[in-house]
Subunit: 341 residues, 2 copies
């Protein structure tokens, strides 16, 4: 399986996903700033993976800290990592968990702190792999034998510490002989579907067909999509969720065509502090990502463009939510209560 992130001799080594599928190149991040930049420029992306990167970032920030400076170094790293991406809540969840671990360890004396922080980051990483496996197992039961499915963006091994969320369901279901073929939305502007998901599926020998985002409606009208599977970057308490731009449109199209629409995410993606989708902060990125494609301009320099990285899908359009705990269906009521979070 692809390893998009690893701790290696005092550095965080990340696969530079901007270069895929053309080059498999790793970045060796020796400091917090370098890792934070890697997250900001999307060398490292995917909600669960951003959380893991956040945790390793804090371990990196204190790896050489003396007991007298460890708290300051930790706080500095925490502020820097928290500033990288605003929408995926897994990042903030991971940072908070590291903070709790820091506080607990601090009470027991600070000398072992670097090792403790690294240990906690490694646990978060390993737990995510187990969570993915659980999501894959639960979700695979939703896929009927012989299904052709549609997915958006990348929610696979490249986005997580394990086999992925929505894509993990697809690969698990494929292993059980249930998936015939996968339509992969290219996912403009940054083409995570074309560059990452298609590549992951090809490496696993799973039949996959690339489509432009605007082709999904025609595929559904033609009866060519058994179900849609997507991930989530943040899920509100009522089940509304933010995910890669284009997800909401797919949900509306799926509803119109009576195609099941499944969302897969770890329970850590649920932000119980956010009551509904309207309160989820949506990151807007540079217009250049829209006016050019991989460095090649498609419009005149200085053209105006709109570039929200995410959109918000109301819970009512979700057929089922798959977490590591199982499958739940709307009406969700309060996910905090429903999932005992």
């Amino acid at each position: 399986m692809i390893k998009p992130i690893a701790w290696d001799k005092g550095a965080v080594v990340v696969l530079d996903q901007r270069e895929l599928p053309h080059r498999v190149r790793y970045l060796r991040c020796r400091g917090v700033e370098q890792l934070a930049r890697a997250v900001e420029v999307l060398a490292v992306r995917g909600a669960p993976l951003i959380g893991i990167a956040g945790a390793y970032g804090l371990a990196l920030g204190v790896r050489r800290s003396a007991p007298g400076t460890v708290k300051r170094d930790f706080q500095k790293a925490l502020r820097r990592m928290a500033r990288t991406r605003p929408t995926a809540v897994n990042l903030f969840w991971a940072l908070e968990r590291m903070e709790r671990s820091f506080r607990d360890s601090a009470e027991r004396g600070g000398r072992a702190m670097p090792a403790r922080m690294l240990g906690e980051a490694r646990r978060i990483h390993a737990e995510d792999a187990a969570i993915c496996a659980g999501i894959g197992r639960h979700g695979a039961g939703l896929i009927k034998k012989g299904s052709t499915v549609l997915t958006h963006c990348n929610t696979g091994a490249l986005a997580t510490g394990g086999i992925g969320t929505a894509l993990g369901i697809i690969t698990t279901a494929y292993g059980r002989g249930r998936v015939k073929m996968v339509y992969v939305d290219e996912t403009r502007p940054l083409l995570q579907g074309a560059r990452l998901t298609l590549w992951e599926l090809q490496r696993q020998g799973i039949p996959a067909t690339l489509v432009c985002d605007n082709m999904a409606a025609g595929l559904m009208a033609g009866g060519r999509v058994a179900c849609v599977l997507v991930g989530a970057d943040r899920i509100a308490d009522n089940g509304d969720f933010a995910n890669k731009i284009g997800t909401y449109g797919l949900a509306v199209l799926a509803r119109h065509h009576r195609v099941p629409f499944y969302v897969a995410a770890p329970t850590t993606t649920v932000d119980v502090a956010v009551k509904s989708g309207a309160a989820i902060p949506v990151e807007h990125r540079h217009p250049d990502e829209v006016t050019s494609i991989r460095g090649n301009p498609i419009a005149r320099a200085g053209s105006a463009a709109y570039n929200p990285a995410f959109d918000v899908t109301p819970a009512g359009l979700v057929t089922a939510l798959v977490t590591e705990r199982g499958v739940i269906r709307p009406p969700f009521g309060s996910l905090r209560k429903r999932l005992s979070l």
Copy 2:
């Protein structure tokens, strides 16, 4: 106004739209084959413009024909031009009109045939300009003051012999102070929105914002789209219509958000021989158009991709159809009867 096609001293000069917006380059087509290729590779595109190109192609085919060979030359040119693009019916309409003119002229003696064919092609071209003006005038009345509108693909001066169809409505309405801003779908795979529509609007000083195709749903949910305007490549007798891939999805999204969805086309786009959308032939193009963008691969070589150039929108999703004769609303019944075609 931009002139995407012109007859010039025995040749058909076309603006090579593949190079826009980066270079304004013209191709001088001295023979039918060269012009047919220009249509096939989309140097010349847009349903009405393809019709005009077809007419000029026949004029080109007979421009040096002697009375003894003119019929054979005409038929050869006709077959070649008819083979270029299967979906836009304006092409077949224009070719049939040229054929009728050829037959009428043949009865009156063949020596003047080259001049007659050129005259008929020029008439088709000039009539299209008048048709566009009519569509613009009728359609502008649909746009409320201060509207932000969304359009897909390119339906402007670059696609027609005049100011355009859907885009002609937008520019006419802008002239009347009714349009505040235009969201332009980039229109993958070939980016006609980003490359052509945005460029046309910028040249006219009309505020325009480029969006990826998958952003339209979020814009509508945010109440940022007053109406959607699109063109058509072929309209069935019942009002179902084929247009650039992605149009159908927009129609579903517009319906879901109660956003008016307007279709603009000359009456020649109605194919009364086709009863419903299911019978419209949809052109599928090379997968390379999806797996690469302007020559730069976005997926590994040999990746499978699906590439229908068009999708079909059922009449029931159309708020109104704008032709040069006026605005009509569904249920259309039979367009042949409704428009006295």
